[in-house]
């Protein structure tokens, strides 16, 4: 297992290098540059700026310079926000997105697995039909539809919760729910399908025949074995949700990381584009590694050599 993790981490470096390279050249291929404005900046100033950020250098040299920075953990300065580095931006906004994401993932996992298990146990029953109807509904409804509806009902009409902005825990409820509903629905359906398959196994029947309690059969025999597909979905989801959602953070005016994925591109803010992309890629690769380790914990037949 130790050797497996080391090898995977080594592969991660290669994967990140590919991500950096592809993103670097793609970003620079977009027409325009970070200092192009509607009203053109005087040539001399623009030239000075480009010199400062090495944008006047040939592309390969810029690439080498960037690689050198990133190896030293420096994601470079932002072109759009001259007083902040990309490291600053991630340091400030990632905790906000991660906090929101944590609650969203917690809700999605807990509610999703519970609903899925209950539905599987009462297949075809009222709870099953009810929760699977809502699962389909929330899989189909994107967050930019759900979020404004929540704002309208719970914020504008009922005054229960703040409509937007960030600060107290009350501010977190609506965006966390908006983020969680889709994944909750997916996890519920995955859990249900997987549970139904496991419950039909002989070893569940045999466990019941040994007189084990219903709860024990459910958790130790059915749920544990049914979780592998859920884990496959859950860990990449953590990476996606923790690094922020453009839509939900925009709608609720939350100072998270999500908006930089979009704004950095139309600002041609090359270093921010690269910074958030590499950050997300690294996070995603780590989560996939965690997923693989979790498989081995759930099922002893899975071993990595």
């Amino acid at each position: 297992m130790g050797r497996f993790i080391v090898r995977r981490l080594a592969l991660m470096v290669i994967a990140l290098w590919v991500v950096v390279t592809v993103t670097f050249f793609l970003a620079h291929m977009i027409p325009g540059g970070p200092f192009d404005r509607e009203k053109p900046v005087p040539e001399a100033i623009k030239k000075n700026l480009e010199e400062k950020y090495h944008l006047n250098e040939p592309m390969w040299k810029q690439y080498i310079l960037y690689l050198n920075d990133i190896i030293h953990g420096d994601l470079g300065p932002s072109f759009k926000y001259p007083d902040r580095t990309v490291n600053d931006i991630i340091k400030e906004s990632f905790p906000v997105s991660a906090q929101l994401g944590f609650w969203a993932v917690l809700i999605a996992t807990f509610v999703g697995i519970s609903l899925g298990s209950i539905s599987a146990l009462h297949q075809g029953g009222l709870i099953d039909s009810f929760s699977m109807f809502f699962a389909i509904l929330f899989i189909s409804l994107p967050s930019f539809v759900i979020a404004p509806i929540f704002q309208y009902i719970f914020g504008v009409k009922l005054h229960w919760l703040p409509v937007a902005n960030w600060g107290s825990w009350e501010h977190m409820i609506l965006p966390a729910l908006s983020l969680a509903l889709g994944p909750t629905a997916v996890i519920a359906r995955l859990t249900r399908a997987s549970m139904l398959e496991v419950l039909s196994n002989d070893y569940v029947k045999a466990a019941k025949a040994r007189g084990l309690s219903g709860l024990r059969v459910l958790i130790v025999y059915a749920l544990k074995n049914a979780l592998i597909p859920v884990v496959t979905y859950l860990f990449p989801l953590i990476a996606a949700i923790f690094t922020g959602s453009f839509v939900v953070e925009k709608i609720f005016n939350i100072p998270g990381l999500g908006r930089y994925y979009v704004t950095s591109i139309y600002n041609r803010d090359y270093t921010v584009i690269l910074g958030v992309t590499v950050f997300y890629a690294a996070f995603l690769i780590l989560m996939n590694l965690l997923a693989d380790i979790t498989y081995a914990l759930l099922d002893p037949r899975i071993r990595y050599e």
Partner: protein
Amino acid sequence: MALLEVRNLQTYFYTYAGVVKAVDGVSFSVDRGEVLGIVGESGSGKSVTAMSIMRLVQQPGKTVGGEIIFDGIDLLKLSDREMNSYRGKRIAMVFQDPMTSLNPTLTVGYHMMELLSRDPNLKTKKQKIDRAIELLRAVGISEPEKRLSQYPYQFSGGMRQRVMIALAIALNPDLLIMDEPTTALDVTVQAQIMELVKEIQERYHMAVIFITHDLGVIAGFADRVMVMYAGKKVEEGDVYSMFEKPLHPYTEALLSAVPKLDMDRSQRLYAIPGSPPNMIAPPPGCRFHPRCPYAMRICAKKMPVAVSTDDREVYCWKVFKEMGVVESV
């Protein structure tokens, strides 16, 4: 009094195509320490009978009638919780496929410890481990100390079935139900497992219900045999007299279908003509009559009544007629 008395058991499956009467009014009993063999083709209701006794028939199946009196108590009247205290402790079951009967993600030791924690005589962990080792040794697993920490996938099929038997006898049940425990195994392993089952049955003097479609397996083991066909009992009796002189045409056909070692190579193995009946719309009258070489007119019209002699019970109009108690119907 018999340890187990099943009276008029009816377990039906409510499918979209119609009601399948998988077990349709079956009665039998098992005494303490007695071995009852249940024989029949696939779909004859053997396994459903066993699952009905355990009360583990799954949707869309349901036991809709009858009584299952175990040690004086009707199991069908117990609450789910009360029934659960019988499972494993008083009545244990071994299933057909040992490859899938153990949880692949738990060690064999976990399976055993989990069950042994219900034994009030075992208080410390040490006692439970010792008992688990003793049980594994009793079913012929070598190096049991090492084996406890291994997972099912590290065991062969025969070894897994030994583990299943160890689990079944762990809480000293009065009745052990074995549902084709050797069917999924190699022939040589089959013989070993049968030896083990016999040895265990004799040592602990348990009552056993042994379900099989292999008459050869049961011949040397069972005290009595019950033959089932299409959800009904067709014949029951002492194992020796039944194999020597089968009365029901179906029993006779089953016995003819057993391959014999002294058979000539040019001889073809006997197969019962036709196929098992459609259980949604079973044939009227005797369910075996469309495949029966002796079928008479009455067989298609009326369900045969029981013909009982001192050691036999047969449901067949031909036997009824031969016994000389014919009335005009």
